[in-house]
């Protein structure tokens, strides 16, 4: 009898977070009839605070046949370091990467990192299961749709794009499958994939074409399980827009209300704030939402146009007011360094957010992410950014390097001035 293939799954999350992606990958692969009883999975759900050498030590101790890592812009450098170390210690290990940092630039990643054997492009569950099956059978990874691997010479070769999973319910819930455990009373919920918006700086929903939803029965079963026997007290909804449609918001509110009445809360759900009226705010409160996250990202006309974002100051302010009336804290986000924005535009955005007294001001500098329109059209937009992850903006046509750094420091200072207040009075 052949020994099972050993697969190690790795993610380096921001501290305090878990990888739902690894849960999905493992749950889907474990349910694949081709792999049942033939593959053993180990999940290493770690953080960016963990030292790459220590992470490599743990991986090497597992002696995996395949190392699969989920890669984001914030974890990429460490993941590359780890892969290099692991490959030196285990020359036969096959390394497969996936995630938004590598999928859109798969061939470049393979050229830049000789230790990487394959990159999964786009939605990963089905492609990853195929890759594992190919590894088990000793076949080239390039046979899997949605994967860029190497030919006999080591050059990148891209298999055709993979058709998206039409029925998301085909992906087992990682929680119900027992491959992901809630941590510290908190769990993630995803009810759909994709995004109704098409913001030029964001990777969310890129390549998905349209919104695909998990069935309501599946979502309800997962939430009932988590809020019931798992004792979860807090959900993080990773949906790109919580109030996607009025009907959907009412359904979520109806479903979550009994749990909210027992103390379950939802923190920082993403909302389209310009579509939040008093009724929507009330539904959010009833669902247990205590804080939301929203734009405007910029209020400058040129940047909004370049990023294909709409912004109506009055509707935005009305949304904040409606939420505050329900006692829901609003986190307003702004990005410094968007194309078309001047330093003054950015600071006007900060002043606008402050004038609404939303609860929290969050500012960041632009990261020009692979796969986004800004990444593809950076030169014509006058964006200069670090080609290495996390791809932070260096200078724009309208804001030089030094002023971008000044805006970073100054906006952090303003956010602190705002946050330093007596709470609850």
């Amino acid at each position: 009898m052949t020994a099972p293939l050993k697969v190690a799954l790795l993610a380096l999350n921001s501290p305090g977070y878990q990888s739902l992606a690894l849960g999905y990958l493992r749950a889907y692969a474990q349910a694949d009839d081709r792999l049942k009883g033939r593959v053993g999975f180990q999940t290493l759900d770690l953080t960016t605070d963990d030292d790459p050498w220590w992470v490599a030590y743990r991986i090497i101790a597992l002696e995996p046949d395949v190392l699969a890592a989920s890669v984001f812009c914030w974890s990429a450098r460490a993941v590359y370091d780890i892969c290099r170390i692991v490959k030196q210690a285990l020359p036969d290990v096959r390394i497969v990467l996936g995630g938004p940092e590598v999928g859109p630039i798969a061939a470049e990643v393979l050229r830049a990192h000789p230790v990487v054997d394959a990159v999964v492009r786009g939605e990963g569950e089905a492609a990853f299961a195929d890759v594992v099956d190919l590894a088990r059978r000793g076949k080239p990874f390039s046979r899997a749709d949605g994967v860029t691997a190497r030919d006999a010479t080591g050059a990148p070769v891209a298999a055709p794009d993979r058709t998206l999973i039409a029925d998301l319910d085909a992906i087992p819930s990682p929680y119900l499958a027992g491959v992901l455990e809630p941590r510290e009373g908190s769990a993630y919920v995803e009810t759909f994939r994709g995004c109704p918006h098409d913001c030029a700086y964001c990777f969310e929903g890129k390549g998905y074409g349209r919104i695909r939803s998990f069935s309501r029965e599946r979502v309800e079963a997962e939430i009932a399980f988590l809020a019931g026997e798992s004792g979860v007290r807090q959900f993080s909804f990773i949906d790109s827009v919580f109030n996607l449609t009025p009907d959907r918001l009412r359904w979520l509110s109806d479903m979550l209300a009994p749990h909210a009445a027992r103390g379950l809360v939802l923190h920082t759900v993403e909302v389209d704030i310009e579509r939040v009226d008093d009724e929507a705010a009330s539904l959010l409160r009833r669902a247990g939402v205590v804080s939301v996250e929203t734009g405007p990202q910029s209020i400058g006309a040129a940047a909004l146009a370049a990023c294909r974002r709409a912004f109506d100051a009055d509707r935005f302010a009305a949304g904040v007011t409606a939420l505050k009336r329900q006692g829901i804290r609003v986190e307003t986000d702004l990005i410094a360094g968007l194309p078309g924005d001047t330093a003054e535009d950015f600071l006007k955005g900060v002043a606008f957010c402050l004038s609404l007294d939303p609860g929290k001001i969050q500012t960041s500098t632009l990261h020009v992410l692979p796969g986004t329109d800004l990444y593809l059209h950076a030169a014509e937009l006058g964006l200069r950014f670090d080609p290495e992850p996390p791809h932070e903006i260096v200078a724009t046509r309208d804001i030089g390097f030094a002023d971008l750094r000044r805006l970073e420091a100054r906006s952090v200072h303003i956010a602190r001035l705002y946050a330093a207040r007596i709470e609850g009075d």
Binding site: A351, S355, A409, R410, D425
Partner: protein
């Protein structure tokens, strides 16, 4: 961007350069006098926000050293009752480490400190302030306040206020570096006297020192800055110079 209404608690200043002139005698206002000023600036309940403009909601007790005011707890409580969520104290910081003052003011609701700093080291601060021992005491006081905030998980903003005169000018970059090392969140440079034209270069160097040490440096309108550093010359709502108009008995 965040308005702090300055309310004077008396005559005098928490700390100034004695080489520029003798320190004025401190005279403290009564609680009733301060309350009258506070009433004039308190936020109107339910006042509509004005998108694009700064928000109301901060008050700063300025003037002579507040920890020497016999009724400081009552003044802070009064600010709180008036509805201010952000209460600032302008201080030399030297009393913070004593008698549990750091924890006390934090619990009372003070989330902003404007600490006047005259030198990069204790000896220079003492020499320019004319008060031996105050530099070390201030350093310990700020540390105590920051520790109390960290322990209780409360967000605070501690800003160093540096009066810029011919005696502090040359040392500004070193002062900024020292403030960053001590944990200050920001540094405010305020023109205390008219300055030579070369001052702009030194002030710009102080701003750059803040950038590389991750502490924001801002200046008041009276300090000239090169165009390249204009972002350091705009107000964000930190310390306000007395000339900008404090209510009270200054």
């Amino acid at each position: 961007m965040i308005d702090f209404h300055p309310v004077s608690i008396g005559d005098g200043a928490a700390c100034g350069c004695v080489r520029c002139g003798p320190a004025p005698e401190a005279a403290y206002a009564s609680v009733a006098e301060v309350e009258a000023c506070l009433t004039a600036v308190r936020p109107a309940p339910g006042a509509p926000s004005d998108p694009g403009r700064s928000i109301a909601g901060g008050v700063a007790l300025v003037g002579p050293e507040p920890f020497a005011h016999p009724e400081l707890p009552a003044l802070v409580a009064m600010c709180r009752r008036a509805g201010f969520a952000r209460i600032a104290l302008e201080t030399d910081g030297s009393a913070l480490a004593a008698h549990g003052n750091a924890v006390g003011v934090l619990h009372a609701g003070v989330r902003h400190l404007w600490v006047r700093v005259l030198g990069a080291d204790d000896a220079t601060h003492d020499a320019l302030g004319g008060r031996p021992g105050r530099g070390a005491a201030s350093r310990l006081g700020v540390a105590a306040y920051l520790e109390a905030a960290a322990t209780t998980g409360v967000t605070v903003a501690v800003t160093a206020v540096v009066p810029v005169c011919e005696h502090t000018l040359g040392e500004l970059p070193a002062i900024v570096a020292a403030c960053a090392q001590r944990g200050f969140h920001a540094v405010r440079l305020e023109a205390a006297r008219s300055l030579p034209s070369r001052a702009a270069t030194v002030v710009a160097a102080a701003c750059d020192t803040g950038m590389v040490n991750r502490v924001w440096v801002s200046t008041d309108g009276a300090l000239l800055l090169p165009e390249t550093h204009r972002l350091h010359g705009e107000p964000d709502g930190g310390p306000i110079t007395p000339a900008s108009g404090a209510g009270g008995v200054r």
